[in-house]
């Protein structure tokens, strides 16, 4: 690609191109955070899957002891926060791809953000009530 003739044909200013933030003014942040959270979730999910399997048929006291141990509580909260961030990012892209009516799109995006945020807070509070 010839950048000189290319920039002459562009409506975008050279400064805008250098900043690389695009029309949404966030650049690659959304895409990048989706990758960062997915890398973080890889070991956390493996740990959680193994733990969940070992908790099959556990009693209430055993479950409370597992959630309440400081090591598990910290990793659980990390898993929950990253999961809800990643879920919100993923559902946002799905909505942006398939919901084309502007009002419905904004409503769906805000609803997903609200539900993800509230469920994240509720689940973290639950872990803290047991652990603290």
């Amino acid at each position: 690609m010839n950048t000189e003739t290319d920039s002459a044909l562009r409506l975008q200013s050279p400064l805008g191109r250098v900043r690389g933030m695009g029309s949404a003014r966030a650049g690659t942040h959304h895409w990048w955070m989706q990758r960062v959270t997915s890398i973080g979730l890889l070991p956390l999910t493996l740990w959680f899957a193994l733990s969940a399997v070992s908790l099959a048929g556990a009693s209430y006291a055993e479950a409370l002891a597992w959630i309440g141990s400081p090591f598990n509580a910290v990793l659980l909260i990390a898993t929950l926060l990253l999961s809800f961030h990643h879920t919100n990012a993923g559902l946002q892209v799905v909505i942006e791809d398939y919901v084309h009516v502007p009002g419905a799109r904004i409503a769906a995006l805000l609803a997903v953000k609200a539900v993800c945020g509230l469920l994240a807070i509720a689940s973290v509070l639950a872990v803290l009530r047991i652990a603290v």
Binding site: S38, L42, V53, L76, F84, D97, L119, A122, S123, A126
Partner: protein, 146 residues
Amino acid sequence: MSLTHDAREAAFHGRRTDGSKVRRPLSPHLQVYKPQWTSGLSILNRIAGIGWTAGLLLLVWWLVAAAAGAAAFEKAQWFLGSFIGLLMLFGLTLAAWFHTLAGIRHLVWDAGFGFALPRAYASGMVVVIGTGVLTVLTWVIALVIW
């Protein structure tokens, strides 16, 4: 022509060589593309991600029930151990392993590797076979412990 709600549609008008107008479809135009392994797995990855959202709801319920008390916890445990609960957990295991392996495949692509078509088909096969093996393995371990 119907009323358009989407500004992007303005960019999807073209002309044929004889000059007549053609209205091109918006992505992902499933009705145009021939089904392929690669596109099929891509769509399945998105469905698996949405499935995992449902699993996350189960996790929130389980944690909140544990914090609420023994009665609420028993109710959650009973549901997860019921036929529908186990069916949901099995579906969730399948979706989770698929989304995890397909996610690793995406991270490898993001790093710039594996784009050649034979490689893309081969890694897709690894994801599908790996999902089956790991799902069965997870449930064998769970049932042994249970």
